[in-house]
Symmetry: C2
């Protein structure tokens, strides 16, 4: 009886010890949708070294800042930025009530479905159309309109819901970084309210860790209620040099990791690269025409031209979607 009891008690103790230790144990492969290879290994090596206390590359949790572009980095941006589909639908809806839009070439391109012209407008063009369609509403209303649209809106090429076209390997990477004490931020050329409509659900990133392009706004107190109303005027274009500028303004620290996919992300990567200590710069290369889309140097949207050369020259990690992603999109639930 004695040994049996003692054995039971020891078993219970062991169980408690295991339970207490669970949060500290590696939960198997943290990046199952990444193929084993140089890219995956580089990520894991980087995270291991900056989190190893006492090691030469250790970085305190408060400085573990990672910034991610959104369009083409966390979800698909072809055949057009998702937000552009949304804005076009809003333009079509609202145009009958706005005869003054008749002389606006961007609106006319939108109404005519002139894709070539629209694609060349870039983030600034979208923001100008957004300024027309979103002015006079609150950020909350904008997020609700976006979220409602995203519930049913589908990619015209892949016929999947846009929100299903997030990259599973990136979702895993974001969670892996957070599990290792990183703060993960989105720094996107897209409109900040549009991204906030799905960032928590899709990526686990809360609204206050989303930086994006934005309109100016105005505080109003009416009928006993305070609101902040969008104005039809651009506040900030969070693309190119605007990315590090807004990182300094809103984060106030230089990231130790920056991830993008196009030439508009290069200033952000250069900014991360210019700090001291261990750092990781990554560019997603869209080279998988079968499972996603293949485009780089000549694309109107998400062009990666200078970036291909800079990645090589600076030793930045170039992620091949074809070779490094074992799976592109999340498995449908």
């Amino acid at each position: 009886m004695q040994s049996k009891w003692s054995f039971s008690l020891i078993a219970i103790i062991v169980a408690f010890m295991v339970l207490a230790a669970v949060p500290c144990l590696a939960a198997g492969d943290p990046l199952p949708s990444w193929r084993d290879g140089a890219a995956k290994q580089a990520i894991i090596t980087f995270v291991d070294k900056v989190t190893r206390e006492g090691g030469p590359d250790y970085v305190a949790p408060r400085d573990r800042i990672a910034t991610f572009d959104n369009d083409g980095t966390l979800w698909s941006e072809q055949p057009m930025y998702v937000q552009l589909f949304f804005v076009l639908e809003r333009i079509r809806e609202l145009a009958p009530r706005h005869p003054e839009w008749k002389n606006n070439p961007a609106v006319q391109a939108a109404l005519a479905g002139d894709k070539a012209k629209l694609m060349k407008m870039g983030h600034k063009g979208i923001l100008e159309l957004a300024a027309l369609t979103h002015a006079g509403i609150t950020a909350q209303q904008m997020q609700e309109l976006s979220a409602a649209w995203l519930k049913t809106a589908r990619n015209p090429v892949k016929h999947m819901l846009f929100v299903q076209m997030i990259y599973q390997p990136m979702v895993e990477l974001l969670a892996y970084l957070r599990d290792n004490g990183f703060k993960t931020f989105i720094v996107s050329g897209g409109g900040v309210d549009f991204i906030r409509a799905f960032s928590l659900h899709a990526y686990g990133i809360p609204s206050y860790q989303v930086i994006g392009s934005s309109l100016k706004s105005k505080f109003e107190f009416k009928d006993g209620k305070a609101e902040v109303i969008k104005l039809p005027e651009i506040n900030s274009i969070d693309d190119g040099p605007g990315k590090p500028e807004n990182i300094e303004l809103q984060i106030g620290q230089r990231p130790i990791m920056a991830v993008g996919n196009s030439d508009g992300d290069l200033p952000m990567l250069q900014f991360a690269a210019s700090g001291t200590g261990a750092r990781l710069m990554m560019l997603v290369h869209h080279d998988d025409a079968t499972r996603e889309f293949a485009y780089d140097r000549k694309s109107d949207m998400g062009r990666l031209d200078k970036g291909l050369d800079m990645a090589k020259k600076n030793g930045w990690l170039l992620i091949s979607m074809k070779n490094d992603f074992a799976q592109v999109y999340p498995t449908a639930k």
Copy 2:
């Protein structure tokens, strides 16, 4: 032997259970520097109800956003804003190299030590002087200059280091909120880089949860290094209506709790108050001439005039420093 062994083993098990439970136990009074009374009770009641799962006032952790003004709310702002002392010193240092400043009335007031004039300039005036003295440097350099200055700079009335003049009850309140799943933000009329120089150490608030007044900036890539340089142009005055406008831009959610001390904080409090569900709006009333300073309706700096009436009318919590704070500043270490 059997019972002795079993007892030892049970003791070990109990020890493990206690260790496992420690994070879940209430650690006594979370607000020891607050006197027991209506204000302290209102805070605890609010936190209890928004964190009670299944209760009618429950708020999910992702929506537990609390915003705090800094000057006069988290630390003393008399006889002048701390940052104004810093900027004046910078002006004096740099003036010999800037003959063009001779025609600037704000600079002349600064050099003449014309306190009455300086105090009337408010956050905008400080920011204009800051624009002169901080242009051309990076946020990092600005934070380093500020931090170095704060190491020795003292309040001329109280003769204490400025960084020792943070309010111990507010430091406890911030920690109490975070322990209950809140995200705590500073939303200050002061310059964002200046506050970031001490916010983590003083309040446990990281740089990316500090919103403040700011200058425009410009990305530069020179000699292989990327930097963001401040321009001598105001980007945003985070005071009055600027507070809710910047909350929408940078946090993207309506706070459920907002704390200030002056009329410049009222739009932020109105914005918090206009949401649905449980919320808590607080104003710190400086009524303790002995331990801190006494000022309200007629003060040039941190004026609380309309706010006193609005607090009464709207049922906002008015914190009496004299009666509600058992201790004002942290005990010197």
